[in-house]
Amino acid sequence: MIAALRTPRGLLTALILLVLAVLPLLTQAFDQRYLLSVGTRIVIWSIAAVSLNMILGYGGLVSFGHAVFFGIGGYAVGILSAHGVSSGWIQWPVALAVATLWAALIGALSLRTRGLYFIMITLAFAQLVYYVGGGLEAYGGDDGLNISRSRFSGLIDLRDKPSFYWLCFAALCGTLWFCGRFANSRFGYVIRGAKSNDLRMMALGFPVFRYRLAAFTISGAFGGLAGILLANEGAYVSPAMMSWVKSGDLIVIVVLGGMGTLLGPLFGAIAFFALEESLPPLLDLLRKGWGEYWQIVFGPLLVLIALYARGGIDSLLGRRAP
C-alpha cells in the first residue's frame, strides 16, 4: 500500500481518490457549486464506464449500446415515480432488476454473434429501447420526464447535493471494489482468457458463452445503477440518456482511460469531462467564439488516441499494458 504511493501512478491515484472523497468540502470552501455537479456526473459516468470495462476491457466484447442501461435504470425510476412510487427502497431494486433482466436477455441474443455483428446488434437493441422511450407519450416521449428524486426517508436526502454526491461516490467505490475482485477471480480469468482466445478457452473445457453472458448481465446491472443515479442527479429522464452517442462516449472514456485496467475508466471519465469543460474556454482564449466549436478539436483527438495511444492514460502513467 505504502509502496504503491512511491510511483507517480500510485501517488496520482491516491490524490485523485482523496480529492473525490472530499470534493463537496472543497467545492464548498472555494464556493464552486458548479464543480460539484460536474464531479457528480464524473462519478456516475465512471460507474457506467467501469461496468462497460468489465465486458469491453476485460472481456474484449465491443458493446456499442451500453448507454441503454442509463436509460433502463433511469426510466424504471422515472416511471415508478410518475405513478407515485417515490420510495427508493422500491424504485432502486426494481430498476436494478429490470436492468439485469434486460442485460441477460440481450446478452443471450447478442453473444451468439461476433465482431461487427456483435457491435451492431448491441447498438440495435439500444436503439430499440431508445425509440420505445421516445414513443412513450405518457412519460414525456422525446421530451423526457421530470421526476422527483428517490426517497430514503430518514436515511439520506438526495436533494442535498453533497449527500447525493457522497452516495454516488460510495457506489463508485463499491463498483471499483467488485471490479477489482472480479478481475482476478476465477470468473475474471475465464473472461480475460476468452478475450485473448475464446476457441482456446472452449478447448480447455469452459462453456465460454455462459461466462460471457454472466459478465454481460453483471455489467448491465452496474450500468443500471449508474442510470438510477443519473436520473436522480438531474431529477429528469429522457431518451437522450441512451442515445447512441452516449454509448460512443462511454467507449471513448474506457479507451481513453485504459482498457482492462481497474482505474482506467475513472481516469478516462475525469479526462473526458475535463476536456469537455476546458476545451471551449481554451479555444475562446485563442479567438472569441471558437469555444463553441470545441468538438472540431475533440474529434481529431479521438482519432489520434485510437491511432497512437492504445494503452490510454493508465499506461501513460507507467502501468504496463496487460
Partner: protein
C-alpha cells in the same frame, strides 16, 4: 476386441459441393498412438474440428468413452476426457505460463462462477499447474508471460495445458509444427514417455515422428481414409504410395 476409446462411424462433412470428410471411420484404442496423415487439403483439419465439436458433421456418429458425442458442445467433450492442442500455437499470451496451465486446471475444478476470491494465491489451481509444467519441462519458465516464450516452449505449454485435465485422449494437431530438429526430438521423446498412459490421435507432417511414435496410421486423401494399418503396412501399401509418395517420397 475391446471397445475403442474413440471411434467415428461414416462421418461426412460437405462444404458446398466439396466432400471435406467422406465417410471416415477411424478409431483410437486406450493407450495407443494413432497417427493421421495426408497431404494438405486432405481434410485433416475438418476431421479434427468435428472431433472437438467446432464443426458439425452432416452425417455419421462420433463415440467417445462409450458415449455418443456427435452433438455435444466442445466443453462437454473436454470434460469427458478429450483434450486437444492446436496446430497454430494458441496459448493465452497475456497470462504467464503458470497462469495458462492454472486456467486449464480450473476448467476441470468445477464451475468458475466465483467472483471474489483472488485466483493468484489459489494453490488448489497453481499446485497442479506447477506439476504439469514440470512434466513438460517448463517449470523454470512458470513466471514468464506466455507471449515471451520461444516457439518450442509455447508448443510445450500447449501440451501442458492439454494434460492439465488428465485426459484419456489427446488430440495433437501438428505438435511439432515449426520446431527445430532438436526440439522435435525432445517432443518425440516426451510423447513416447506419455504413451500407454494416454491415448493420442496425432496429426503430423513430420513423417519421422509419425513412424517413430505411431502404433497405427490412417492416411487421409481428399476426405477419404484410403488406408489404415501399422506403420509397416502403410509403408507397403500401394494406394498410399500412389497417392502420397509422388509428393516428396517421405514414406521412404
Amino acid at each position: 476386441m475391446t471397445v475403442p476409446l474413440l471411434s467415428t462411424d461414416r462421418l461426412v462433412k460437405r462444404y458446398g459441393g466439396l466432400l471435406a470428410t467422406d465417410n471416415v471411420s477411424i478409431d483410437v484404442a486406450s493407450g495407443e498412438i494413432h497417427a493421421l496423415i495426408g497431404p494438405n487439403g486432405a481434410g485433416k483439419t475438418t476431421l479434427v474440428g468435428q472431433l472437438t465439436g467446432n464443426v458439425a458433421p452432416d452425417s455419421g456418429t462420433i463415440r467417445f468413452a462409450g458415449q455418443d458425442i456427435t452433438r455435444l458442445p466442445t466443453h462437454r467433450r473436454v470434460h469427458l476426457g478429450l483434450a486437444r492442442s492446436f496446430q497454430i500455437t494458441s496459448v493465452l499470451g497475456e497470462f504467464t505460463a503458470l497462469e495458462n496451465v492454472a486456467l486449464a486446471v480450473q476448467a476441470h475444478a468445477g464451475h468458475s462462477f466465483r467472483f471474489l476470491r483472488d485466483v493468484r494465491g489459489d494453490e488448489s489451481l497453481r499446485g497442479p499447474a506447477r506439476h504439469c509444467l514440470e512434466e513438460v519441462g517448463l517449470d523454470a519458465r512458470a513466471g514468464m508471460p506466455a507471449s515471451a516464450l520461444s516457439h518450442g516452449e509455447q508448443r510445450q505449454l500447449e501440451i501442458a495445458m492439454a494434460l492439465a485435465g488428465d485426459p484419456s485422449l489427446l488430440l495433437l494437431d501438428e505438435p511439432m509444427a515449426g520446431m527445430g530438429v532438436e526440439e522435435s526430438q525432445r517432443m518425440i521423446a516426451f510423447l513416447r514417455a506419455l504413451k500407454g498412459r494416454r491415448a493420442m490421435l496425432l496429426i503430423e507432417h513430420d513423417m519421422d515422428a509419425v513412424f517413430q511414435l505411431a502404433d497405427r496410421i490412417t492416411v487421409l486423401v481428399y476426405g477419404r481414409a484410403i488406408a489404415s494399418g501399422t506403420p509397416a503396412e502403410i509403408r507397403a501399401d500401394e494406394a498410399v504410395r500412389r497417392a502420397y509418395l509422388g509428393d516428396d517420397g517421405m514414406v521412404a
